[in-house]
């Protein structure tokens, strides 16, 4: 696609049922309902073909928007990992202490 680079094709594709699709399909549905309302027609009962068409177009565009979003976050993750790999001295793992070493000895006062 013209909005995604070649390397994005190596990423797993999103499911057909994704959030951006649902939102844009809802937007398309609302657009058709508003169109009906402006023309003094019953919003949901009239022009079902328009509702279905606009929702489907919204769903399709949402799929591609999701692909772009996945690529965006994958790029950020990859750059972050690369940076951590190049600067290991900044990311030293803290040595773990067990609770036995931290906790003070228990001296009961009865």
């Amino acid at each position: 696609m013209w909005f995604l680079p070649e390397e994005a094709k190596a990423l797993p594709p999103p499911s057909v049922f994704n959030r951006n699709s649902m939102w844009l399909a809802l937007t398309g549905g609302l657009a058709s309902m508003f169109h009906n309302a402006i023309n003094h027609k019953p919003p949901l009962k009239s022009g079902v073909h328009r509702l279905v068409l606009l929702s489907s177009i919204g769903w399709y565009i949402g799929y591609h928007v999701t692909k772009r979003e996945i690529y965006h976050y994958a790029k950020i993750d990859r750059d972050m990992k690369e940076y951590i790999g190049l600067h290991p001295e900044d990311f030293v793992a803290k040595e773990k202490k067990t609770f036995a070493e931290i906790v003070e000895p228990f001296i009961p006062i009865r």
Binding site: K9, A10, P13, V16, K41, S46, L53, Y60
Partner: protein, 69 residues
Amino acid sequence: MTFNRLLSRAALVSKVGSRSIFQSSKRDMTNPNWIRVGLAFGTTAFVWGLLFKQRSADEHEYRVRNGLE
């Protein structure tokens, strides 16, 4: 608004800039424009087909590039 005016029959009757009330009538909403309905549903089916084709192409591309196929 002018787009709707071009589509209404009254514009065919008189090419003058104004419409006369003697030629205009309310839109006939009881007989749907079946061609437009058919085109809309056909385009819908086409768009869904495009979506599923794109999805299967993406899946295939992913498997090929990651050596799973």
